[in-house]
Symmetry: none
Subunit: 325 residues, 2 copies
DNA sequence: ATAAATATTCGAAAGTTTTCGAAACAAAGA
DNA sequence: TCTTTGTTTCGAAAACTTTCGAATATTTAT
C-alpha cells in the first residue's frame, strides 16, 4: 500500500494524501480525517510497518535482590500477553554501570521494542531514554520522552489510604521508611505518605522519615532510630523492609502492633503468614506485566505512548492497630 | 545456506540481503525484518558455520505460584551464563494441559536447545522427552533419555542431614510433609527423609507422612493431622509449607520449637526473618541456573549429557530444638 | 449588493529521499 | 591460483514531500 494507492482510492492526489498524513496546514480537516481514517483502517503507516516481532525484556541488575520479588510475576504477565500476539520475548541483562547502547542493542538483535525493568532514577539508562526514539516500556520509573511508555502501580493513593487508616486508628506520630531514595517507587510512596498526612491534618516532621534499601536489614537497622523518635506507626516502602523493622522493634522491646503499628507494600506471600500478618498494599504484578506489553505494542505500532498506573488495593491486617493511649 | 539463496527465496538481491544483515541504512525496516526473520528461522549466520545461538526457556505453568520463588533466580543464573557465550534466551510458556510439540517448537523458532522448568512427573512433556532428540535441559525432574540433561539441587543428602540433626536433638517421631506427590523434588526429599531415618535407626511410620502442594495453606491444613499423630518434629518440603505448618500448630496450641520442631527447604528470604527463624536447606538457585546452561551447552555441542546435582547446605535455626522430654 | 482582497484547498509538477539491484570489489578457502 | 561468498559503490526507479498556481470560498470595502 502506497500513498498513491490511497489517493486513487479516495479520489485525491498523492500530494494531498502526503500532506494529510503529515498534518500539513493546506489540507482541510475533513480530508485529513478521511485520509487518516482510511490509512488506519488498512494499517498504512509512513514509517514502514515493522514486522520483527521480537521484544527484549531488559533487566537492570537482574541479580539484585529487589528485582526478584516482582520480576517473575511481571515477566509472567508480559510473556503471556506477548504470546497471544505472537511476539518473541528475549531476556537480556545489564548492569547499571555498563549499560548497553539501546539503539545498537535493538538494531543488532532486530528487536522492535524494549521493556526495561529494575532501573533507578540515577541510572545511566534513564539518561539515554530521554532522547531515544525506539519504542520502550519503562517499568516503575519515568522519563518525559514521548517514545517511552511508563507503567507503575498506584503507589500514591494506596499509601495515602494506609496513612488515612493509621490516622483513623488514632496515630499522630507516623514515620516513613523508604527503600532506595533514588527509586521512583520510593519517591511516589513518600508522596502518598505526605498526601495522607495533609489530608489527615497532621504536620509533617522530617525526623520521622528515613531511607535505606529494599531489604529486611534496612528495616532492622532503622528500628532503633524510630524507637528513639517515639513514633507510634511506621509506613514502610516494602514488605521486606516492614518485616525487618518489626523484628528490629522486637529487639528494642517494642511489640507490633501493641506499641507500634507497621505497614508494608507488595503483599508478598509472607505478608499473610508473617506474625503479625502485615497491613500492606496488594500489587497485581501479572496485570502490570500484561498492561506493560499492551502499551509497548501500541508504541511499536506508532501510537502515542502513555503513562499509566495500575490499581492497587490496601489490605489491612494485624500489624496495624489503634494507637496506644 | 548463503545470502544468495536467502535472496532468491525472498525475491531480493544478494546485495540487499547483505545490507539487511549488516543493518545498512539503505534497506527499509520492512525488508530488513523480512531478511532477519528468515535468516533466523533457517539458522543462517554471517559468521561461517556458526549455528543460531538461541535457547528457549520453557516454563510449564509459569503462572503457577510454586514456580515464582525459584524461577527468577534460576533464570538469572541461566541468562547470565548464556550471555557470556552469546546465546539468546527466549522465554516461552506452556500449560501442562496443552503442551507444545517440542520438535516443532525448536524447528519453527530455530532454537538450538531447550531448558524446561516447572514440569511435574505426570506432565505430558515428560512423556515426549523420553524419545526426543533435541538437546534439552530438564530442571528438577528426570528422564532416562540420554539427549536430556537433568539438573536438580541435592535434595536427598540435605534432607537426610536435617533428619540426622533432628535425631541428634532427641526426636523420634519425625513427620514428613511433602508438596505435590508427583513432583520429583518432593519424591527426592522424601527419600532423603527415609535415608535419614534409616541411618538414625528409627523405624518408618507411614502415618507420619502427608502430601499436599507447595503453599502455606498446605501446611496450615496439615497441622491438625500431625498434632493428632503426636509427632515431635516435621520435615517440610518447602519453606512456605513449613511456615503454614508453624502457623497451623500455633492454632492448635502447639508452640514451635518448644513443642514441635519444623524444618523447611529453599532458604527463602522469609526463612531468616520469620519468627521462629527456619531451619532449612539453602539452595543456590543462581548456580543452578548457571550449571543448567553449561550442561545444556555441552549437549548442544553434541557431548553426552549428564545428570548433575548441585550442592545444598542445611541451615540450622530456631525452628528446630531438642525434643520435649 | 458588488467588487476587490484575502484565505483556503487541492493537484500537477518538480524536488528529495529511500530503496534496492547490477556490477565491481574484497576476503577467505581450496 | 581460482572459486565461492560476502561487501561496497553507484545508478535507476519508486515513494514521498514540497512548491506553486488554479479554483473556490470567505472576508472586507465601497
Amino acid at each position: 500500500m502506497t500513498i498513491k494507492e490511497i489517493a486513487s482510492k479516495l479520489g485525491l492526489s498523492a500530494s494531498t494524501v502526503s500532506k494529510a498524513l503529515n498534518n500539513a496546514s493546506d489540507v482541510s480537516a475533513n480530508t485529513r480525517n478521511r485520509v487518516n481514517n482510511y490509512a488506519r483502517s488498512v494499517g498504512f503507516s509512513l514509517h514502514r510497518n515493522q514486522e520483527a516481532k521480537r521484544i527484549c525484556v531488559l533487566f537492570e541488575n537482574m541479580d539484585s535482590h529487589s528485582n526478584s520479588q516482582v520480576g517473575y510475576p511481571v515477566l509472567t504477565g508480559f510473556q503471556q500477553a506477548a504470546n497471544t500476539y505472537h511476539y518473541e520475548v528475549v531476556i537480556e541483562h545489564c548492569s547499571d554501570k555498563t549499560p548497553p547502547n539501546l539503539k545498537k542493542l535493538c538494531q543488532e538483535n532486530n528487536f522492535c521494542g524494549l521493556m526495561i525493568m529494575g532501573t533507578k532514577l540515577n541510572s545511566v539508562i534513564i539518561k539515554e531514554l530521554e532522547t531515544t526514539n525506539i519504542p520502550v516500556m519503562l517499568m516503575d520509573s519515568y522519563v518525559k520522552n514521548p517514545r517511552v511508555a511508563c507503567i507503575s502501580s498506584d503507589n500514591i493513593n494506596s499509601v495515602a489510604s494506609i496513612v488515612e487508616h493509621l490516622i483513623g486508628l488514632g496515630h499522630k506520630k507516623i514515620g516513613f521508611l523508604g527503600g532506595d531514595k533514588h527509586s521512583i517507587v520510593t519517591r511516589e510512596r513518600f508522596s502518598g505518605y505526605l498526601i495522607g498526612l495533609i489530608e489527615g491534618d497532621i504536620e509533617f516532621n522530617s525526623n520521622y522519615v528515613r531511607y535505606g534499601n529494599y531489604t529486611e536489614s534496612c528495616g532492622l537497622e532503622a528500628a532503633d532510630y524510630f524507637a528513639e523518635q517515639g513514633v507510634t506507626a511506621v509506613v514502610c516502602a516494602s514488605d521486606l523492609i516492614a518485616i525487618g523493622l518489626i523484628n528490629g522493634f522486637k529487639k528494642c522491646g517494642l511489640h507490633v502492633p501493641d506499641d507500634v503499628s507497621v505497614s508494608g507494600f507488595d503483599n508478598l506471600d509472607i505478608a499473610r503468614y508473617f506474625i503479625p500478618s502485615l497491613t500492606t498494599v496488594k500489587q497485581d504484578f501479572i496485570s502490570l506485566g500484561e498492561n506493560a506489553f499492551t502499551l509497548l505494542r501500541q508504541s511499536i505500532k506508532g501510537n502515542k505512548t502513555k503513562r499509566i498506573t495500575i490499581h492497587t488495593e490496601p489490605i489491612f491486617r494485624d500489624s496495624t492497630a489503634p494507637a496506644k493511649k
